[in-house]
């Protein structure tokens, strides 16, 4: 009887799980089965055991049939619900079942800087030649907990991501691989120090060149939160997991233009989940992950031990592969090839002991492979690629330029530097020697004719800056062509008078005379006022944004943006001069899909980094506006975060100077990656910088934020940016920043 009662309980659990996946009892015969189950449960002790056995068996058969049908036709939204189920396995289950033993670092359970991020030093067992070997790894990942409130559903606070970064660096010091487990619906969108966006950016920036093998596994990959620990040499994904740019509910609220607090229709959420291409199969096809780990039907739960065995094998195999690809020995390569050919069917333990230690050359190869892997991501997801001949010519030109700039800056400049150093040393020595000889004479001379101290001393003067707006009157904003007045938003606070539009957008450069509030201006104004006249040379103009996921209706909206802006993407990349200083600029602007970043924008940005690197120019990212990652491109958009950060890191590491200037509104993915990682970030007055907008914050955290939460002033207070510039002084300030930040290393260290 006890056995039957347990079986009945299991049936009830399975039925509840099924109804959770299907979001109700309407599908199939769930309602009928539930009714049968309840009747059986109520009359359990009234019936004969044989009858109960028959009824339980028929229930089990019915359930099995439904589960099989459900698994066959799982929709993306159903996968999302599987992932969100409290029965799903979590990181603690993995630590318990995949690794031999582990010690949690940086806090334990609830007593923790952020219980939603778990870092642990763990041992994994390898069996080879009938012997057991343990290998150390650092395990870092989000912990959703099974209904534990303090875990915050795996939504990490900025300090949780900071903790992850700290232990990544520990792993680097110890030279052990890192296994990342991604279980997050997204990062907790708060700006408190170190700041959601800024911390994710720092994580990604560090991970680009972390000198140990990085393996990640995605179960629930919610955009920026996932990227904070997602950049890796090998990306695994669970077959029932999801990896997305935004939650389907969030996408539906945007697509359906649902007002805050309004109900989003379930059908719209379903169709958005479909359009976002969030499943493991979709992501494998898109190239954003490397391999899928097959789960049990309807997803692995916390007690599916066969899955943990498979997972253990997969993470070891992935680590082996990453390590082997860096080795130069042929035997290892052959073994690696065998692994590749064997595909997913092989489930044996690797039979040889592979050391995960890497020497300097292997680390170099590891980093090169990582760089190449991310550089290639989403390569086919934009338009406007050059034809073969043009591309050949381009390559030829690039190689010639490379040779020229290497000769000019690496060889000539280093020679010049050495010669200068020698002259400096010799002149310094000779002056000391000469001083010793002439000292008695000069003392006597001073005694007779006393010098007045400091009278003829020439003070060092800063370089000729010239007038910042010497030709500022040549361009007037089209906004000025209206005969009316506008009210400054600060008029109540500071008593600002109404401003006459032709004055405001003409002479005042869109700045309130009284309080200094900056009204938004079009990006063309900056092109004209920031850069030297006739110095602009735009490049990669033809690379165009596309619709790689064939999102319905998006093609039309894209064409509309192209028609309106006469441009093909939301980014302009150009070479220009600022008061004589040659720089490369990438400019995200608002008119084109609100400055969102997709594959085309990411590619253009990465190419701009490469150009700046090639030509040894300082690199400026001027962000007129960015609304984040373009959701219509799904994870192809998300991978632009690591891709562009990789390009930035390589540029900075090679000696470049990277400056970011934010204007108007800069939010989400780009700030949380290739912009936020800059060492020098500035903002134009009255701009807003942040991770998520006020609505998302209200909906995620459940509490309201002050109206100036994202203001540049508050960003400065939190230490996210280094300064706030007046638009009218942009040119002068930028020139000064290039000199102070770059100095003698302006054209490379």
């Amino acid at each position: 009887m006890e056995d039957l009662r347990k079986k009945l309980l299991t049936c009830e659990e399975r039925l509840t799980y099924l109804s959770h996946i299907k979001a109700g009892d309407e599908w199939g015969n769930i309602a009928g089965l539930r009714e049968n189950l309840l009747t059986l449960r109520d009359s359990f002790y009234d019936l004969a055991p044989e009858k109960i056995t028959t009824k339980v068996k028929s229930l089990e058969e019915g359930l099995h049939f439904l589960e099989t049908r459900c698994e066959e036709n799982l929709t993306p939204m159903e996968r999302v619900r599987i992932v969100r189920s409290p029965l799903r396995f979590s990181l603690k289950d993995i630590l318990e079942n995949v690794y031999e033993d582990y010690t949690e670092l940086g806090g334990a359970e609830e007593t923790n800087i952020d219980p939603s991020m778990v870092a642990a030093k763990a041992n994994i067992l390898r069996r080879a030649k009938n012997k057991n070997f343990t290998q150390q790894v650092m395990v870092i990942g989000q912990e959703k907990g099974h209904g534990e409130e303090y875990r915050n559903g795996g939504s990490c606070k900025p300090w949780g991501n900071e903790k992850a970064l700290r232990y990544m660096q520990v792993a680097q010091t110890e030279g052990i691989p890192i296994h990342f487990y991604i279980f997050t619906p997204g990062s907790f969108p708060i700006e408190d120090y170190p700041g959601a966006a800024q911390q994710i950016a720092r994580n990604i920036y560090t991970m680009t060149k972390l000198r140990v093998p990085l393996i990640s596994m995605i179960s629930e990959g919610g955009s920026g939160g996932a990227e904070a620990i997602g950049l890796s040499d090998f990306r695994l994904m669970c077959s029932h997991g999801y990896y997305s740019v935004i939650s389907p509910e969030g996408a539906a609220a945007i697509e359906g233009k649902i007002r805050e607090g309004g109900k989003v229709p379930a059908e719209l959420i379903e169709s958005c989940a479909e359009r976002l291409h969030i499943t493991a199969r979709d992501n494998l096809k898109l190239g954003t992950i490397d391999r899928i780990i097959e789960e049990n039907p309807l997803g692995a739960k916390h007690d599916d031990f066969s899955f943990f065995k498979k997972l253990r094998y997969e993470v070891m195999r992935a680590t082996d592969e990453v390590v082997l690809k860096t080795k130069s020995l042929r035997a290892f390569r052959a073994y690696e090839l065998k692994l590749e050919k064997s595909g997913e069917s092989v489930m044996d333990e690797p039979q040889i002991d592979i050391s995960w230690d890497l020497n300097e050359d292997e680390i170099k190869r590891l980093l090169q492979r990582r760089s190449k892997k991310y550089r290639q991501m989403a390569k086919d997801s934009y338009g406007g690629r050059t034809a073969n001949l043009t591309s050949f010519m381009q390559r030829l030109k690039n190689n010639t330029s490379k040779a020229y700039y290497s000769f000019r800056y690496d060889i000539l400049r280093s020679q010049q530097k050495q010669v200068k150093q020698v002259i400096k040393d010799v002149s310094g020595e000779s002056s000391v020697f000469f001083k010793q000889l002439t000292a008695p004479f000069s003392a006597a001379y001073d005694f007779i004719i006393r010098k007045t101290d400091g009278k003829n001393v020439k003070l060092p003067v800063s370089g000729g800056y010239g007038d910042a707006l010497e030709f500022g009157d040549t361009y007037t904003s089209p906004l000025a062509n209206e005969d009316r007045t506008v009210t400054c938003p600060n008029s109540e606070k500071y008593g600002c008078k109404d401003l006459w539009v032709p004055d405001l957008y003409g002479e005042f450069c869109g700045v309130c005379e009284n309080c200094g509030h900056h009204f938004p201006l079009e990006y063309q104004w900056y092109l004209k006022h920031l850069l030297d006249r006739n110095s602009i040379r735009e490049f990669n103009r033809t690379i165009s944004a596309g619709n790689p996921l064939s999102s319905p209706g998006f093609e039309k909206r894209l064409q509309e943006a192209i028609r309106k802006t006469k441009r093909h993407s939301a980014i302009i990349t150009l070479e220009a001069r600022v008061m004589g200083v040659e720089i490369v600029i990438a400019m995200l602007y608002s008119n084109f899909r609100n400055g969102t970043v997709g594959a085309a924008e990411g590619e253009k940005f990465a190419q701009a980094c490469e150009k700046a690197k090639l030509k040894r120019r300082p690199f400026l990212a001027y962000i007129h506006t960015t609304g984040g990652i373009r959701i219509q491109e799904g994870t192809l958009g998300v991978v632009q975060m690591p891709k562009c950060t990789m390009a930035v890191r390589e540029y900075v590491d090679s000696g470049g100077l990277y400056i970011v200037v934010y204007d108007n509104n800069s939010y989400a993915g780009p700030v949380a990656s290739f912009l936020g990682c800059s060492h020098y970030q500035f903002a134009i007055r009255s701009s807003r910088i942040g991770f998520a907008g006020p609505r998302v914050i209200r909906e995620t955290t459940g509490s309201d934020i002050p109206p100036d939460y994202h203001s540049a002033r508050n960003a400065l207070k939190r230490g996210h940016i280094q300064g706030i510039w007046d638009r009218r002084d942009f040119r002068r300030n930028l020139h000064k920043a290039l000199h102070t930040m770059g100095g003698r290393n302006l054209y490379y260290r």
Binding site: E482, T485, D704, P706
Partner: protein
């Protein structure tokens, strides 16, 4: 005498238990109203007073339609509908919002009439002097009498403590408006002093307001 004084004050508020907020035009322009007489309006709300109230009227000048919102909740008690669509001068009273006074507001108004405020001489943090603080701790602040020349407060500014001596009418400390360690702006009242003889009367008024007002 006491009772008649108390009754006089109470009768005043009972006859007209409302507060009034006038809205004057901030500049010239043609005016358009968005509310009617006796209509209920909402005031500024939100944790940071960031949600504007009901739109009362708009002033149109030089192509700029400037909306004016209600600052307090209440009822439109008077409105110059005769000016609808017409040009108005700056400073013209166009709308009055009437709102029922709460107990707290009435008590505050009464206290404002009778208490002598002692204002902050600088923008700084304030503490009671040790002597006064120990008496307050022992007997409560309404039992502490002060007279001109007494050292009553310590002003903490830029890590330097300066004693502040009381100047004004002698009396007892009736109300304390500051919190130790919180910066107070210059000229904000720090304490309200009540002449000793007026204290029972004030207490009586307050008690009656608390008891009788709804």
């Amino acid at each position: 005498m006491d009772d008649s004084y108390v009754n006089e004050i109470l009768a005043q508020y009972r006859a007209d238990p409302y507060g009034y907020v006038d809205s004057h035009t901030i500049h010239t322009g043609s005016i358009n109203f968005y509310v009617k007489k006796d209509e209920k309006v909402e005031g500024v709300s939100g944790e940071w007073r960031h949600i504007s109230g009901t739109k009362l009227y708009s002033l149109h000048r030089e192509g700029n339609d400037k909306p004016v919102f209600s600052r307090s909740s209440g009822i439109v008690s008077s409105i110059r509908t005769d000016l609808e669509g017409k040009f108005v001068e700056a400073g013209e009273k166009v709308i009055t919002i009437r709102y029922p006074l709460k107990k707290r507001e009435i008590i505050e108004k009464i206290l404002r009439r009778v208490l002598v405020p002692f204002k902050a001489p600088e923008r700084a943090k304030y503490f009671f002097s040790l002597d006064i603080q120990s008496r307050i701790d022992k007997f409560g602040h309404r039992s502490v009498a002060v007279k001109p020349g007494d050292e009553i407060l310590t002003m903490s500014l830029m890590k330097r403590d300066t004693p502040i001596y009381y100047q004004g009418e002698p009396g007892i400390i009736h109300s304390v408006y500051f919190q130790p360690g919180i910066t107070m702006e210059q000229d904000e009242p720090l304490i309200g002093i009540c002449p000793a003889e007026k204290l029972p009367v004030i207490q009586k008024v307050i008690n009656r307001v608390k008891a009788e007002w709804e």
